[in-house]
């Protein structure tokens, strides 16, 4: 089975995270779980990748973090992230960028890779 190349997907980790945060604020493990589900288990984001994406996007003002108690009510404190207006704008740009990228690359893809 072909595995996804981390070099290619790297530029779109932000897009995936912002997509999920667009619905509701969330925390690390929940986000990684949703990415796994939504990608139909084809992409698994590593913890270190996820955390560095959080930190970078927070620095750029795309997301904000806050500490809150677990929604399941077991009293556990967690760091949650929510999307900012700037983040929404960035997400829209990334979507545009992806469409363009896809359109461009698509022109060079032969059916089943056969000449």
């Amino acid at each position: 089975m072909i595995e996804i190349s981390s070099d290619v997907i790297r530029g779109y980790n932000d897009t995936m995270i912002l997509f999920i945060l667009g619905d509701a604020p969330s925390y690390g493990y929940e986000i990684s779980k949703k990415i796994k589900q939504l990608s139909k288990e084809k992409y698994l984001i590593k913890e270190t990748t996820l955390y560095s994406a959080f930190t970078r996007m927070e620095k750029n003002g795309f997301i904000e973090s806050f500490v809150s108690e677990d929604a399941e009510g077991n009293g556990k404190k967690r760091t949650y992230y929510r999307i900012t207006e700037q983040g929404k704008q960035y997400y829209a740009d990334k979507c545009e960028e992806w469409k363009l990228t896809k359109d461009v690359v698509e022109n060079f893809i032969r059916d089943n890779g056969i000449y």
Binding site: G28, S32, K46, E47, L50, Y51
Partner: protein, 327 residues
Amino acid sequence: MNTIKNYLESMFANMPNTPEVLKAKNELWQMMEDKYTELINDGKTENEAVGTVISEFGNLEDLADILGLRGAFEQKAQTADNTPRRNITRDEAFEYIKDRTTNGLMVGVGVFLCITSVICPIILGTMSRHGGAIGVLGMAAMVAVAVVLFSLSGTKTRKWNFIGKMPCSLDYGTATEVSAEREKYRTSHAVRLTIGILLCALCWLPAAVMEEFIFGLPFIGDVITPTILFVTVGIGVFLIILTNKIMNSYDSLLGTNDRATVSGSYGMENEPVYINKTVDTIMSVYWPTITCIYLSYSFLTFNWFSTWIIWPIAGIIHHVLKKNLTK
């Protein structure tokens, strides 16, 4: 679960001890813990869950840029081989504590003998005409035993001389265990130290009381009171030496990890870090000193009903000092 914690700690062990790094470690731990809990709840075995969490953890180099450690990572690659740290195993750590305790006992007894050796001429001097000379011999013998004890105590700890001289390290599990032991010993340490200081400070008290009540008997004044005085001081000093040696062995073990790295804080998370060594020393004897002042003053004046006020005052002062003098 412990395996995961150990894995994470060892990954971070040589990272600089900065708030960003600690925050990253905590956040990563949160995610790993969540993932582990869910895997277990899904019916996975402990081994499977641990394996999955660790294999999906990723690579710390991903964090280098966001933590501002790009330079540190490259530097580490260069210097890692030049300064290997001597790893202290769990068995070694506990043997070290045991040996240092024995060492403390020997030195303590030695010093006790030195202090009390003067009793020989005092007692024997009053017994007969030649007693003085025999007494001096007895004193010399006691000092000789003390010297033997001192040199033996040195050989006991010689093999541990490398601790503190060369860079060493303690793994996370051992450091946590040593720290727990230290925490357990803390109360005994405080009690022994206080009693020790108190005995030294109040050594004249029994003598003074005796002088007061049994005044007139020459034997009491010349022999018993000085004997009690020296024995009291001897026991006091013995306690102080022993307990400080034991406490010191915990501290030097926990201090082996490089203070600038995350591992430097293993087992010391709850310890206040004072601005310099002098302040640290003063703060460590703060409570024993207060106790001594309290007991000495109360015994002297018998104003027990008002002297307790020292405790709340000392408590507030301690809090203020701790707030202002910690890093």
